[in-house]
């Protein structure tokens, strides 16, 4: 069944690329470890959140239930938003200026502002030493140059950094990564990836909706790109095509082909204009010399040449978390970031892996514009 979806698959035997395997601990162990640390008094982390939109509220709420965390400050430029948040976060400072964070002796800062502001804010956080541990919602920066500079600043700070590519914390994608790490498919030769939603399926010519969200590549596309880099390692763009429905410069459709290590071939199809995708959906079809695997947000399906097909749903993969808000992935993501700070380590998705996503986005845009 799955085979017919893989087009142009090159079946030459190639070796599967090296995989970064630092995200391999069990979530249940992590949960236990966090509470143990709390009991042993290794300290409470003082955290601030900058940017109080949907993601700012989500992270602020999750941070409020995590042990070892004290949410001490919130920051947003909108006066109305600050007023509303003050009434809900009564024991937390709500400010409009980064300067107000200087004296708080913060352990970590979450940045959940619009993407174009990530670069100046992260730079200011590091250069003024507001905090050395920084979480940024995806994408890391608006361009590869900015992402590289932020990665260099993060390295110099010596702290922990993370970017909000939460799909890595979904049990299905985690299962797929485990299976790939075990080389269950043999040598991986080709993959196709998609990211679809209906968010702008009713968008029309002249609409600013796409522009205000920065285009589909950075929005939906960055998640599936991050997963691809996690699964397969380094990728280079070979050809790309971008289309805009609104015609205001921001892309609504992105289709491109990549090549990976050992001649791995991949293709991407990304749009937020597809009907019937009530919730955003991300998925892969991966072809190896020993079989095929499909994975999306809901399930993982494996078809090996010499065995019966097997399908795992979220239900089969221990999807419960300490506190569910939005999706289990968000809790695991925040938990992982906090634990990494306490352990003094850097876990992926960090500034380095996120800068690679920004590199591919830039390559796709350059390739598409050159062709057009």
């Amino acid at each position: 069944m799955l085979r017919r979806h893989i087009e142009d698959a090159d079946c030459r035997r190639v070796k599967f690329p090296a995989i970064i395997t630092d995200f391999d601990f069990k979530e249940s162990l992590l949960r236990g470890a966090l509470s143990e640390m709390s009991k042993s008094g290794r300290g409470i982390l003082k955290v601030a959140v900058i940017g109080l939109g949907k993601m700012g509220l989500l992270h602020s709420s999750l941070l409020s239930v995590l042990p070892n965390v004290e949410l001490v400050a919130l920051c947003d430029k909108s006066g109305m938003t600050r007023r509303v948040f003050r009434s809900f976060f009564r024991r937390v400072q709500v400010n409009d200026n980064l300067e107000d964070l200087y004296d708080l002796n913060l352990d970590a800062v979450y940045i959940t502002t619009p993407i174009p502001s990530h670069f100046p804010i992260v730079k200011a956080i590091y250069s003024t030493r507001i905090a050395r541990n920084v979480f940024v919602e995806k994408t890391l920066s608006s361009n590869y140059d900015g992402a590289q500079k932020l990665y260099a600043l993060a390295q110099a700070s010596g702290g922990t950094n993370m970017v909000g590519y939460m799909k890595r914390f979904a049990v299905t994608f985690k299962k797929a990564k485990e299976l790939l790490s075990e080389s269950i498919l043999g040598d991986v030769v080709a993959f196709s990836a998609y990211a679809y939603s209906s968010d702008l399926s009713e968008t029309s010519r002249g609409s600013r909706a796409s522009m205000s969200r920065g285009g589909v590549l950075g929005d939906l596309g960055s998640h599936v790109l991050d997963l691809a880099l996690w699964f397969f390692g380094d990728l280079q763009v070979e050809s790309a095509k971008l289309e805009s429905v609104s015609d205001l410069g921001a892309e609504d459709f992105a289709r491109f082909r990549v090549r990976g290590p050992n001649d791995l071939k991949g293709k991407f199809d990304i749009t937020w204009c597809r009907k019937e995708y009530r919730m955003p959906e991300f998925g892969f079809l991966i072809q190896g010399t020993d079989g095929i695997m499909s994975v999306n947000d809901d399930n993982v399906e494996l078809e090996l040449h010499d065995r019966k097909p097997h399908k795992w749903y979220r239900h089969d993969l221990d999807d419960n978390v300490g506190f569910l808000l939005g999706a289990p992935e968000y809790f695991r993501e925040d938990e992982c970031f906090i634990k990494s700070i306490l352990d003094g380590i850097n876990m992926e998705p960090n500034f380095y892996s996120a800068s690679e996503v920004d590199r591919i986005i830039e390559q796709v845009k350059n390739e598409a514009y050159e062709r057009s």
């Binding site: 709420s61 239930v65 007023r83 205000s212 019937e276 809901d298 399930n299 979220r314 506190f323 939005g326």
Partner: protein, 301 residues
């Protein structure tokens, strides 16, 4: 074991919104038939004729159209259990309207458009003082007026539940004052206040800490044999249920989003103490007949 005579059986609306927690592919495969309000109303009627005691739904244009169709039929004392706000729609609106601020302005305009004086005055007070309780009251009045404008006295709005996103955020932020204000306000309106949650054990622990009277509230939360969406774990949720005999807990996701077959799902539900009802969505006429027939036989009155 639950007293089978006390179980309330409710038909849910998830399939009408194209929701399948098993897979999005499955919800797409159901096709567009469920978008049709007349067809969906027929399904609700079939469920009611085969043992369902009421309808639980998120308040949206889709479900209000369905409700309007249901109320055109010969029904008596239909019991309604509303969930507000319909978070998905509001997230979508926020995306289109330019974030939370844009969304707030849009809702404000909608409240004014209802010409519901009480809602408008309460809302204005909330805006001027940035008072969350007044804003909550205005919003509840607005949603209740939307429901009553389509039912026109042909159904009883028995309970109004806060959607899980609101419940979970309020729990996370320790907003005990908001929970209390909501409960008191709804009782004044003679409607049972309720909470939808997927953090049941956490909610029970917090409500006990805050001395919230479980007899005064309804709770709808996931219970199923495989522990799907029972956070932090199936065992913790079962334990928490065991500690609140006075509560009115309705189980949702009993089929774990289609992962389980009705007989095995019901066998598990029958083992749970203190459960007062179940809610289940149906997408086909045959499903409605068979599922509610079985539920009535095993759990219903």
């Amino acid at each position: 074991m639950s007293d089978k005579r006390s179980m309330r059986l409710l038909v849910g609306d998830n399939p009408f919104h194209g929701i399948s927690h098993l897979s999005q592919e499955r919800s797409r495969a159901r096709g567009n038939a469920l978008d049709n309000a007349e067809y969906a109303a027929e399904l609700v009627m079939t469920a009611l004729e085969n043992g369902a005691d009421g309808f639980m739904f998120s308040v949206s244009e889709t479900t209000l159209s369905i409700l309007q169709e249901v109320c055109k039929k010969e029904i008596k004392n239909l019991s309604l259990h509303a969930i507000v706000p319909y978070a998905y729609e509001y997230v979508r609106l926020a995306t289109q309207a330019g974030g939370i601020t844009g969304l707030a302005k849009k809702i404000g305009k909608q409240v004014i458009a209802t010409m519901n004086v009480k809602a408008i005055v309460t809302g204005l007070k909330g805006v001027v003082r940035t008072d969350p309780v007044s804003l909550m009251k205005a919003y509840m009045l607005y949603e209740i007026s939307r429901i009553r404008s389509v039912t026109r006295g042909k159904a009883n709005l028995d309970s109004v539940m806060l959607h899980e996103v609101i419940t979970e955020v309020a729990l996370a932020l320790n907003l005990d004052w908001l929970f209390r204000s909501y409960i008191d306000f709804m009782w004044k309106l003679k409607i049972q206040p309720g909470f939808e949650t997927r953090n049941f054990a956490y909610l029970v622990r917090k409500f006990k800490e805050w001395d919230i009277d479980f007899r005064k509230i309804a709770i709808v939360t996931a219970f199923n044999r495989v522990g799907f969406q029972m956070n932090p774990s199936k065992i913790e949720c079962e334990k928490a249920l065991g500690t609140i005999p006075e509560s009115k807990v309705t189980a949702m996701s009993i089929l774990a989003a289609g992962y389980l077959k009705p007989p095995e799902a019901i066998d598990y539900i029958r083992t749970l103490p203190n459960l007062k009802g179940v809610v289940i969505g149906v997408s086909k006429e045959r499903h409605a007949r068979e599922t509610f027939g079985l539920l009535k036989e095993k759990l219903g009155s």
